[in-house]
């Protein structure tokens, strides 16, 4: 439609990255199938429609991507993450799909063995067997090691008895549970011969073919939620429910017929975190989807801002386009730059997922988990803040459902606390940094951090991202002390991380047996900051590497500016730290604010073309304010004014 002052096709290629063909396939599939958001329906119809759409999606062949080749899947976990995020215009469907194929299917793949794969995966891929991922309990969400559901082995019948001992142990917020699920991967304390072996997962049928709850299973409906009302979240209670021994997902822990427990991993803590680690894909998908939903929101708000006018322009016979206001640019353009940065960081993360799958290296796996946790936290908060800013930037129009922002806001809101609460996730990131990923999960929960660090921490070591060599080259080549110099920016991010981490290490080393909680807790804001600045750096380095990959000089120039805007607006947000630690002078601090303003002005003419380059499927862009209604009204007004000037 527009004629960007850059090579839009090349930028799209760069953004589409390694899974470009998957993206194109999903875009095509969305053109062929009616997967439109059904938020306007009542709860039951919305759920029914979402379930129908899930089956439509199953037929498209796309969901199979992430499943093993042996059962007819594509064996491409990266592709499966990328395909899911393209559902950003119908987030109920995305979450329903994520539950069915990512969480439920993913658990069977990762925690089960061939007997489960052969028996269930085809029906899971086709959605003939709708399933649940029953981990969270009402009483324990973040601290999943303390789940209270039990699975007790009965050698007499060779069955497990799954039981909910009290209300706090009921399974809570379980997607697919209230209406459609027929089976659940239930996480429970495994008890064999009177001994507990920690949390394991096993498959428990919850509904028969007719849709009735199985004997001993009680299902409650979580009812209306802030958003995602096409997903049937429910609660599961088990009253001594018996399942065959074979239903244990036994890759990391098995029970022989006679009741002998065995596991390839001796430590209970390590075993549990290894199991959790295999489920990392869900968290990466949430980050991807949050990022995609943010892009869609930005596209709506930027298109409207580029058309909407308000207040006469002094000395001109027209009103000012609202995106020409600095305040409006400030609301939308630094988030646009951050969306680019996070996009490239997400691409690196998905590649790392793909590589870890092949290599199986433990340290790389821990690093992947850390990056996934951190990016999930940063990207979902970015979504919450940015979609809110987009809503406000569209005024009353942003509040009307037909303009989509209301739904995007409500649906993505839970992302900051599901698949890991962001605050808890950032603590995991900090823990990894402090211990250099050395067996830190060995029988230690999040709060074991303080004690552990006291023993182990020796000093901050900056762990380099995948972009290592490029970043090092730029830093080495840089000798300018200029805020627009990439080397200076990279060094500023790196130096901040090192300093924050080092200070944190020193604080936590004071922790002993008796004061561990107090020392840890009084440093909690410092812990969270360490994780955030680490992720900031990882994200900047991913952006820098992407600029380096860019072929077209015009694109490189524009991406360069966006990268400056990301780097400098990130520093500006945390300016207090840089000043407090005398990393920048007051004079430079003011120069950074001026530079952010200037960069906003330079990017402004390209804003709409840039956001379009993300290639959000056109099917999702339905908001009247973003698809011509505002322009048509202004034209009518101008035509009317010409023939009927106000007296």
């Amino acid at each position: 439609m527009t004629h960007p002052a850059f090579d839009a096709a090349e930028l799209r290629t760069l953004l589409d990255g390694r899974w470009a063909s998957v993206r194109e396939r999903v875009r095509a599939s969305l053109r062929d199938n009616d997967l439109a958001n059904a938020d306007d329906l009542d709860t039951e119809s919305h759920r029914a429609r979402t379930f129908e759409q899930l089956r439509l999606l199953a037929k498209s062949g796309v969901p199979e991507l992430g499943f093993p080749v042996a059962q007819g899947g594509g064996g491409d976990q990266g592709g499966s993450v990328v395909s899911l995020e393209l559902l950003c215009g119908n987030l109920s469907l995305m979450v329903k799909a994520g539950v069915q194929w990512g969480l439920f299917g993913g658990a069977v793949v990762a925690l089960g063995t061939e007997r489960h794969h052969e028996r269930y995966l085809r029906d899971i891929m086709s959605a003939e067997l709708p399933g649940c991922f029953a981990m969270t309990e009402t009483g324990h969400g973040s601290d999943v090691q303390r789940l209270r559901t039990t699975a007790t082995y009965d050698p007499a019948t060779r069955e497990f008895v799954v039981h909910t001992p009290h209300e706090a142990a009921r399974k809570e917020y379980i997607g697919n549970a209230a209406r459609d699920g027929r089976m659940a991967a239930v996480f429970a304390q495994l008890i064999v011969g009177g001994q507990s072996h920690g949390v394991h997962a096993l498959l428990v049928p919850i509904r028969d073919e007719a849709g009735n709850a199985c004997a001993g299973v009680r299902i409650e409906d979580c009812g209306r939620k802030a958003g995602l009302n096409g997903v049937d979240n429910g609660r599961l209670h088990f009253d001594q429910v018996r399942v065959p021994r074979e239903n244990l997902l036994n890759r990391y822990g098995d029970v022989a017929e006679d009741g002998t427990y065995s596991s390839p991993i001796d430590s209970e803590g390590k075993r549990f975190f290894t199991m959790l680690g295999t489920l990392i894909r869900g968290r990466i998908s949430v980050a991807g989807t949050a990022g995609a939903a943010t892009k869609l929101a930005l596209e709506i708000a930027l298109r409207y801002a580029d058309a909407r006018r308000q207040f006469d322009k002094p000395g001109a016979d027209e009103e000012v386009v609202v995106l020409d206001y600095l305040a409006h640019q400030r609301k939308l353009l630094p988030p646009l730059a951050k969306s680019f940065a996070l996009h490239f960081a997400q691409e690196e993360l998905v590649q790392a997922l793909d590589e870890v799958q092949r290599s199986g290296d433990e340290r790389t796996q821990r690093e992947l988990e850390s990056h996934a946790a951190g990016l999930k936290a940063v990207t979902t908060w970015h979504a919450t803040h940015t979609i809110q800013a987009c809503r406000e930037a569209c005024g009353g129009a942003g509040y009307i459902s037909e303009n989509q922002l209301a739904g995007l806001k409500a649906d993505t809101d839970v992302f900051t606390t599901f698949e890991g609460d962001n605050t808890v996730l950032l603590q995991l990131v900090a823990k990894g940094l402090l211990t250099n990923y050395k067996d830190q999960f060995d029988d230690l929960g999040t709060l074991g951090l303080a004690k552990f660090v006291a023993d182990q921490f020796v000093g901050a070591v900056i762990e380099r991202s995948a972009a290592h060599s490029i970043v090092q080259r730029i830093i080495d080549a840089s000798n300018k002390d200029d805020i627009l110099d990439r080397g200076w920016q990279l060094k500023a991010f790196e130096d901040r991380e090192e300093h924050v981490l080092d200070g944190l290490g020193r604080r936590l080393r004071k922790a002993g047996k008796d004061n561990a909680f107090e020392v840890f807790n009084s440093a909690q804001d410092h812990v969270l900051r360490a994780a955030r600045v680490h992720i900031d750096r990882i994200v900047l380095e991913a952006f820098v590497a992407a600029v380096d990959r860019c072929q077209d000089p015009r694109n490189a120039e524009l991406l360069d500016k966006l990268c400056d805007l990301y780097a400098l607006s990130t520093i500006e947000e945390d300016k207090a730290w840089f000043l407090e630690h005398e990393r920048i002078s007051p004079r430079r601090a003011k120069a950074i604010t001026r530079a952010v303003n200037t960069l906003c002005g330079e990017i402004r003419p390209h804003a709409v073309d840039l956001v379009e380059a993300f290639g959000i499927p056109r099917q999702w862009l339905t908001a009247p304010i973003a698809t011509g209604a505002e322009e048509a009204r202004q034209e009518a007004q101008i035509a009317h004014d010409k023939s009927n000037p106000l007296p």
Copy 2:
């Protein structure tokens, strides 16, 4: 229920303030009437129920408070604002009531004359005549001077012809329009004898008794919104609709039978802003309600945080109460302190409204408008941020509708952009500060600011709040350079305001005829900052004055700490400015962060009692997580664990 370590009754008295009896009356009325939130209904039923509730409320006698005594009202605008905010648990009803009595009724009272009062007010008070406030148009929301609806006088029939010339001129987002309204106060360009006299309001019937649209009136439904779905927002189109001459609300501009226009105010701009100024109550009510909704959200999140536990406490046989985590305190306690600060600032604002009504002094009126605009912006943003933090602090439970936060978030979201877009409002505040309220509205829109300031601005003058003498006394008595010294805090806020304003004045003085927009626009972030820091000071001074009024020494001590927390967390948020301008040293900056952490710990044990002191009607507290469900589950778990220890 709990036993606060302070005099809760006295604190309630202090918080209830001058309109304590009105508050008690409304609380009683809420006990007697079923005004429960009906968010779970479908749109039509929700609207119907909200309309029924409006009629119930009419019978309670409370809405009459704000109307003139001559027509049976209470003549108490302050009481009417205070009573409206207590509807914070049913925001659809609050907005419906605000439209009916505040906006529609308020327009008839303030812009009409006795003939309108006598004819309509009784039916408005009783809700027999449901009405709309039809100002905003699709094309012009913030810039209401440029509305395009016309009202042309036809001397032949002594009627006005109301007309929507094109789609951008249709009335948009009009509450009460889609379903219930029978009449609208329509704002239109008044054209008499071929000459335009600017925007005036007139009463236009839109539906007959049977509910059918009147001839020439076309009504559209805005459909679903992010929230407030009990309010029937709609769009109004007028096709040459004729109303009698007497329907002009003629207090500030009248048309004689022969078509002679007259007004007590010569300048068209001043006339318009004077009319708008009389409608200030709506804006003040939005701030009050946003504040009250925030308190309710904080009460839910704090009660849950005070009960909920997660992660084992090292060395103890229990899990940690989540409000004991520093990160959780940081999320909820500075907002609690700010809610106290804004509460007292709002109380001062309502008193000022009451006084201006009596005195009619123009400078005081302008100051009131400025404070109302600024507090509305700051309080509604505080609501958006805090309710979001509360939602996240409650994890998945915060996302389930029955726990109320979803609804509070969705319903209050529009507050930041309705009754004046916050960004535009802050510019009005800055304008007032720069011109010392000297006729600044005389034929100048918001963007006239730059030009005007270039002519008029001479230097920043700190305009003192109502708390003047107390603040001066504290500043004079202070000689300590200590961050916990109130005098130091007050001086820090005042100094920041003066410096920001002074710098802004100097920047804007560079504006000439040709570059006015560019100069203004490039300083827009500075303009917004000037307004914010001004309001920060007004709010701190109101809090300081309230601490001074406090009688009980224990209460004074606790409020003192809360006031410290408000002051220091506000400085902490803007630490970069204080460092950049060398107002604080890096060492002091770190001390402020430590002090905020310490204050959080000191306030934490009283957090629930403090939030309860606001006296949010108990009817509104229905969230299971805040009313005992979590405690009951934990007790059941503990009881179970005792008799069945995990093997």
